[in-house]
């Protein structure tokens, strides 16, 4: 390079999980912005600290847990100074000073110094044989002790202490765990679960002394024992202190950075000195410090974003969950489970199976969960906890888990650990457990997204997401899978669906490039996930103004037919309410013969499907169908699909109302509208419900005295009965409520989020309030829907068959006869 650009210097103190995660995320966002130097006290690359427990237990080796080898730093032009400790930060000159006295300048500094184990100030704590449990060095010393000595005492009955005790026991030592309180892991477990845990650890040979206060560590040249407050003593050749961690912020504090229990940072992970960032266990954010990786990774992302000068993202704190990594013990805990006057609990206890579950609810939401013995649903509860889902509608069955609710979980006995490698995890993409485990361990995958990208598992319908998370947790042993609370719309941005929708309105953004520019998209033209989403949001927000971007539509919506696996298309003409006529049927028959359409099939939504149409024949097929009075059935659309009806009072002896007529009316009013995901309706003429209205997105069940309106059902990947919304007396009111409901969904739903998911997310009561109770609001919603229909109700087939719209789409550009 001739005129070499002088890059800014980024210095990182701390070569650990949070610091390097930040660097990785920074490289993704702005690979060439900085000259990066990393200082780390430990003489290694970056390794997975979480997995020290399995290393201690002999289930993994140190090599297994390396995340970034020394080569990685080289490949990414990062200067790694391992084994070097920084002893001072000189903010005046913007330099860091190494222990050896060398000064290294920085433009920006990242402090990621983690934390140190708390060593109780007991007499004898300096004796050889007394150690903490934090790094490879500690683990090496423990392993060595286990070959030379017999008796170990672990002080601290929390997560770390129990994992240390388990490892030492596996290495053949006699282990006693000393705990100050009478419940193990009291920060994560309630007394019942703590008792179950203690029992099963005792069965494996662990000994407990609790409640007990350690008073002194005994010995001359090396530890020989421990004395307690009650005067008793225990022999010990090794004492592991695992009573907690203390954020390591001395360095920052000496440099004059504001610290309380950790280095205090803002929502952008900056310290009081704007050039200096901090992430990881050493920081305090909004009064919180964290000791688990999931929140640290969230912080890393935000910090990287800011370092990359992409602004915008902020860290809002995290909710965490815990899993104990002792093989064979299933334990999961999340959120807040202390009893309280405003809280309710659901408890399931099955002593024979060794299962205990306690779910804590507050304001209809899950706020805490403790699971023991059967933790398969842990991630599922945790998801609802983080999302703040209103769970009142599933309350009775909540404690039995996702499978029981038809949410695609699996039952307890079926836990992933017990599955064979051949067990298929992802039905959509045919990925078995072995393949996922292999990818996770060989390619060092961390997150659900990584697994999706590498194996395709859970990348389609997503119903196996819970399982894949289980496989991740089981393979890695930790809780990595926790995604940030707000899910970004896709990988091209850090913003959530809600953010995007809000900003489109606030900033009056009216084109896809405008949204991408304003919200600082990370890719040039987005991708196949975000472009269709943005196109829909703009279309729904600015009816009549926004010009639909055909190139941002999935092929089916671009050509108004459904692509099939061989690249041909299927065509479904609209049949209002499922009613047809002899002349329509004749026209369909003629078309099928004329164009040699191989398959003609009746669909589940009471329509006729012509399958196997060649793309170039589409306009002609449509022209013939148009001539017979038929229009597109939008069978391909994220929009109103079908209204299924029964014959109702016109023919049926049980019919109470004209269900067919009402269905036709609804369909005629609503066809052509685009929605976040497909919308299917059903109208049944009496509670016998022949039109299966109660598993549709919106269903009407006619009764003598009027019309019951139901919604948020599903009968696809998931099966879910509808929720009752309201009952009205006339057809007109029915139409008004359903249209208003659909409009609310159009305005608030996330792209590809079915109505039932939307309802789960925002809550049935919320929706009822705005659609049923608040009549003025209902009328306003109705009016907005009606307004946008003016622009939506043109038959896309007619436009293309006879008005030449998009002609290019259907004809080849050229035909070549090559020699």
């Amino acid at each position: 390079m001739l005129d070499k650009v002088i890059k800014q210097k980024l210095v990182v103190i701390g070569n650990g999980m949070a610091g390097i995660r930040t660097v990785e995320a920074l490289l993704e966002r702005a690979p060439d912005l900085y000259d990066i130097t990393v200082f780390g006290s430990e003489p290694y690359g970056n390794y997975n600290r979480i997995l020290l427990s399995p290393v201690l237990a002999g289930e993994k080796t140190v090599d297994d847990i390396m995340l970034n080898t020394v080569d990685w730093y080289e490949d990414n032009n990062i200067t790694l100074r391992k084994g070097e400790t920084i002893s001072m930060i000189d903010r005046r000159t913007c330099e860091v000073v190494t222990e050896a006295g060398e000064r290294v300048p920085y433009d920006r500094l990242l402090v990621a110094t983690g934390s140190n184990p708390i060593m109780l100030p007991l007499p004898g704590k300096e004796l050889p044989g007394v150690i903490g449990f934090r790094d490879i060095y500690d683990v090496d010393r423990m392993i060595k002790a286990s070959t030379d000595y017999r008796n170990a005492v672990v002080i601290g009955g929390g997560l770390l202490g129990l994992e240390a005790a388990n490892g030492l026991m596996k290495r053949g030592m006699n282990v006693t765990v000393v705990h100050l309180l009478d419940t193990l892991m009291e920060r994560q477990l309630d007394p019942v679960a703590g008792g179950l845990l203690r029992k099963s650890l005792e069965e494996r040979g662990m000994v407990f002394k609790m409640p007990a206060q350690t008073q002194a560590i005994l010995g001359e040249d090396r530890v020989t024992g421990v004395r307690f407050g009650d005067g008793t003593e225990l022999p010990a050749d090794l004492v592991v202190m695992a009573v907690g961690i203390r954020p390591n912020f001395e360095l920052a504090k000496k440099a004059g950075l504001y610290c309380e229990r950790g280095i205090v940072v803002s929502d952008t992970m900056q310290t009081y000195d704007g050039r200096i960032y901090a992430v990881g266990e050493c920081v305090q954010h909004r009064r919180q410090t964290y000791g688990l990786v999931a929140p640290l990774f969230d912080q890393a992302k935000v910090c990287a974003n800011h370092l990359a000068m992409k602004g915008f993202a902020t860290y809002d704190g995290s909710v965490t969950s815990t899993k104990l990594k002792v093989t064979g013990i299933d334990l999961f805990s999340a959120g807040d489970f202390a009893p309280g006057p405003d809280k309710e609990e659901i408890v399931l206890q099955d002593a024979n199976r060794g299962v205990y579950k306690r779910i804590i609810l507050k304001d209809k939401k899950i706020v805490g969960a403790v699971l023991y013995g059967d933790t398969i649903d842990g991630p599922w509860y945790f998801q609802h906890l983080r999302d703040g889902t209103d769970v009142s509608h599933m309350r009775e069955r909540l404690v039995f888990g996702a499978a029981n609710l038809g949410e695609g979980g699996v039952s307890g006995q079926n836990s992933v650990a017990a599955m064979s490698d051949e067990t298929e995890i992802c039905g959509c993409n045919g990925v078995c457990k072995g393949a996922i485990v292999k990818a996770i361990s060989e390619k060092k995958l961390f997150t659900l997204d990584d697994v999706r990208a590498h194996t395709k598992a859970s990348s389609s319908c997503g119903s196996c997401t819970g399982l894949v998370e289980q496989v991740l947790a089981f393979t890695l042993g930790g809780d990595y899978s926790a995604a940030p609370k707000v899910k970004p719309l896709c990988k091209c941005t850090d913003h959530s669906h809600d953010d995007v929708r809000r900003v489109i309105v606030e900033q009056q953004l009216k084109t896809i490039p405008a949204v991408m520019r304003f919200m600082e998209w990370k890719t040039l033209n987005g991708c196949h996930s975000c472009r269709p989403a943005l196109n829909y949001y703009l279309l729904a927000t600015w009816p009549g103004e926004y010009r639909d971007d055909q190139q941002s539509r999935f092929i089916n919506e671009r050509v108004h037919a459904n692509i099939q696996k061989d690249g041909t298309y299927s065509v479904v003409p609209r049949m209002w309410g499922g009613v047809t006529t002899p002349s329509e049927l004749r026209a369909i028959a003629d078309v099928a013969e004329k164009f040699n359409i191989p398959t003609v099939k009746v669909t589940g939504g009471q329509r006729i499907d012509l399958l196997g149409v060649k793309k170039e024949d589409l306009p002609a097929v449509w022209a013939d169908l148009n001539d017979a009075g038929m229009v597109s059935g939008h069978a391909y659309a994220k929009g109103l699909r079908t209204v299924k009806t029964c014959v109702g009072s016109e023919w049926c002896r049980f019919g109470t109302q004209d269900s067919t007529g009402l269905g036709v009316k609804l369909e005629k009013f609503m066809w052509g509208s685009w929605t976040p995901a497909k919308v299917k309706l059903g109208v049944s003429g009496c509670p016998r419900n022949c039109a299966e209205a109660t598993c549709k997105d919106v269903g009407v069940v006619c009764v003598d005295s009027g019309y019951e309106i139901h919604f948020a059902g599903a009968a696809g990947l998931h099966i879910k009965g509808t929720e009752f919304l309201t009952k009205v007396e006339t057809e007109d009111e029915t139409l008004e409520v359903i249209v208003a409901l659909t409009q609310l969904y159009r305005e608030e739903g996330w792209y590809l989020e079915r109505m039932y998911k939307w309802c789960d997310r925002v809550g049935l009561e919320q929706i009822r309030k705005r659609v049923v109770d608040d009549v003025a609001n209902r009328k306003a919603l109705f009016a907005r829907f009606a307004y946008s229909q003016q622009f939506a109700q043109t038959d896309p087939w007619a436009e293309r068959a006879s008005r030449g719209v998009d002609r290019n789409e259907f004809a080849p550009l050229a035909e070549l006869e090559l020699a």
Partner: protein, 109 residues
Amino acid sequence: MTSWIEIGALDDIPRLGSRVVRTPGGNIAVFRTESDEVFALDDRCPHKGGPLSQGIVHNKRVTCPLHNFVIELASGQAVAPDEGCTHTHPAKVENGIVWLSVRQAAAVS
């Protein structure tokens, strides 16, 4: 030897879109990027043969409509972690006209 064949006007291909050219050896998809570059690939996804011309084009990539493989337009390579490759053909634009040079080997499926 490269023999160029004129296949049509650039404006007949939508930006961030594609059109197909029929050849006896199968369809070739011709893509146009946002900045008016053109690329030509066999219209067959390396995964299960999906028609790439029907996919969503973003930057210099296309996403297959069948199972979302992402293919680099310049090289025909699937973007990692997916694997596979589609044959490419030289294509260029001159004065608003698109030219294609069909690589015979590639046209044999």
